[in-house]
Amino acid sequence: MNWELIKDILLATVPLLVIFPTMFALTTWVERKALARIQNRIGPNKVGVPMSRYGGKLSLFGLGQPAADGIKMLFKENIVPTGADRLFHLLAPILSLIPAMLVLCFLPLNFPWLTDEQNSVKAFMLDGAVIFFFAITGLNTLAVFMAGWASRNKYSLLGGMRAIAQMVSYEIPLVLSAVVVVMTVGSLNAGEIAKSQDGWNWFVFSPWGLAAFIIFFIASLAETNRSPFDLPEAESEIIAGYFTEYSGFKFALFFLGEYIAMFAISGLAVTLFLGAGDGPGAEAYPSLKVIWFLAKICVLIGIMIWLRGTLPRLRVDQLMSFAWKFLMPLSILNIFITGFAWHAENNNEEYGFTIKAIIWTASLLILYLTAKGLDKVNRANIKPRTYQYGE
């Protein structure tokens, strides 16, 4: 046995298994609190540490809520519908959690106890880490379909079909906007992409990087079924979508998988656009990199929660036309602009401040005007909803 390798693997993966589920527990509490404040409620504030022996209790703003929820989930009855496909009904939650957990390994987290060589597990320092990330997150779609189909419930199936259509459509702008970064760095390796952004050289600080980041963020919302793109689980239309028939521990697994996928895709956004572990003091103290990385993920999650409290849900046709007629042309145009700018910068001897300013202004203008124009064209095509089976 190769004990060194096993030690390396444990050192790199066990922290992931500790950090992200903890963050999941905290995020559920933060989300409930924040949504409650947005809706002018108080939110969970009772559960804390019971200290009745010493009189009263420690409520800690309801921080005990995740633990209470977890215990409740574990002890709930596990119901499988009579007509359901038992094997697939069991496999679906597991299949939704595994890819989400697996892709966390590709993030260049730079744990201080790992040397630069072992940065992450060697097996995961693949040349094609970024594309591997997309390939494995794509498997999530199958889990959703599996859940919807195995439940043998019309609402579940509708949710599953909606999820497939949505995830397949939004994967295109997601990948195309990541292409911008990959093109500029010239590598698919997550560690190299992170390294190339050290020293405030983040990709989000350029016109094409900013546009790509916005597209990426919107598409990642849709990929993880977050509001306003949570049509697969729209409770006012199809009950709870693909997990209508899930309860107890299986439901908890789905829940966990969804949040871990959120962290993973935010982590990829941080790696690609927001400078990975770069931040004030990161060069002097490399151990700060993990903190910065996780902090940036938390900021993105915070924005997601904020959007969930603010925006109404889209309609199915709006969802589709937004992906195909707005995000996709814009991201393709963005790739062309990036190519042009990269060429001007690297193959031009007279490249200086003036040319840079001209290129930046021009690309900003082109992107802004295209977005405006596409928006106008799309708006003209949106018609009021027509009803096929009712008045």
Binding site: D127, A135, T141, L142, L157
Partner: protein, 178 residues
């Protein structure tokens, strides 16, 4: 030793997945077995040090082709996933015989002549150097025309698929509720 174990496990996964895919009466079960087969094959590609191909295998087959087939099943067959009554075709006996004889024909050259077994270590270093970057450079330098033709083919297939699946005049059809 580890490599041999990995090979046998992955080979078993691939063969069992493929067998289930063509034998299952329930189509959706069949598609998921097919995905298991694709995953096993991706593992074999990794074992052969072709990691980029393994990634593309998962991305294209498990991600795109599997979902496409699921969509087609949902659009054509019984959504509830009832098992089909008769699955084998009339000529299935002859089909089995033909498949078996083709298998023998494919197997004969490998059994009959036993050439010197290539030593995998002599080229391992060169194989390991062939990174994604090298592949990309090859695609741009000698094979750029192929790449462009492929792009054209994919676009044509996309348009063709939409036209074929759309049918005649969808506007003229009327859905009546009875």
């Amino acid at each position: 030793m580890n490599e041999v174990t990995a090979f046998w496990i992955l080979a078993a996964i691939a063969v069992i997945g493929a067998l289930f895919a063509i034998r299952k009466r329930n189509l959706v079960h069949g598609v998921f077995s097919l995905l298991v087969f694709f995953a096993g094959l991706a593992g074999l590609f990794l074992l052969l040090l072709a990691e980029f191909i393994a990634v593309v295998q998962i991305l294209v087959y498990a991600g795109a082709v599997g979902i496409l087939i699921l969509f087609a099943i949902m659009l054509t067959d019984r959504v509830t996933g009832k098992d089909a009554f008769r699955v084998t075709s009339r000529g299935s006996f002859w089909g089995t015989i033909i498949a078996a004889s083709v298998f023998l024909v494919l197997l004969l050259p490998t059994i009959q002549e036993i050439p010197q077994v290539d030593n995998p270590s002599n080229s391992e270093e060169i194989v390991k150097q062939s990174t994604v970057k090298a592949l990309g450079k090859k695609l741009i330098h000698p094979y750029v025309i192929t790449l462009e033709i492929l792009a054209l083919l994919l676009t044509a297939a996309l348009i063709g698929a939409v036209t074929a699946a759309q049918g005649g005049h969808p506007a003229k059809k009327k859905i009546s509720i009875e």
